[in-house]
Amino acid sequence: MSPDHENLEQELRASLRRTAAPPGFAEKVLARAGAPLAFPKPVAGPKPERLRPRQDTILPHSRRAFTLALAAGIAVMAIIPAVVVENRRREEARGLKAKRDLLTALAITRDQLQQAREKVRRTTRNIQ
């Protein structure tokens, strides 16, 4: 390399040497990134390895939802027969009460008819 050529390269090095970044450059970058000053380096590994924890965090949610749905189903299945049985019991009780009321009404009607018949018989006897 000739001295003259060296000289041109020297001039280029001096001309193109690094310039300081504008004032506040680093602060702006950190503010835009919202970056902490330092954070832990994750353990190196293939991408699928990194995806696994995400799947793990999703699966328990599904399991939890499934368990809740199952519990709700069981509860509904247990409640429905109880409600049906209770309704039937109430219907029966209503029927029995109606039957009793009817018998009472018939008894009263029978007594009143007997009293009326007795009254007619007495009246007929007095007329004779």
Binding site: M1, S2, P3, D4, H5, N7, L8, E9, Q10, E11, L12, R13, A14, S15, L16, R17, R18, T19, A20, A21, P22, F25, A26, K28, V29, L30, R32, A33, A35, P36, L37, A38, F39, P40, K41, P42, A44, R50
Partner: protein
Amino acid sequence: MEIDFAGIVAENQSMVFSLALRFLRNREVAEELAQDVFLQCYRQIDRIEDAAHASSWLRRAICHRSIDELRKRRLRPAIGLDDIPEPAATGAVQDPMLRDRLRGMVGALPEKARMVVVLRYQEDLSPTEIAEVLEMPVSTVKSHLHRSLTLLRGRLEKRGFAKVERGGELPVTEVCL
């Protein structure tokens, strides 16, 4: 192990900003692009192994982003703020006009050649390293350097800046890399 992103920014901000500035010759665009590259780095921080890896990642990213940006914005090499002489003039250069003219001429080189020259003389990278950064053959890098130096020398001579401090005229000779 901890990655200190603030440390990465502090350590590389000058390099990233300067590469964008020398290539784009527009201070505002260079700053914006440099910030974007650091943000991109932050988003991919889990892929960064250490400080040295961060530096090479940032260098590569800013080079490619700058080339893309130039194509996108169609920035023309023009006289801008960067043409105003900088105050910190230490080192071998004694002619500030020559230095400014050289910077302007580098900024007027074709994009690939310009990036090769900036990486060679700002970052002091070898042709092999430049080839890795720009993903091109080493022979292409050497060819860009040779042609660029020849072109620069010719333009300097044409504009009357050929005389340098030692009184020697810059010859158009083959570049030995």
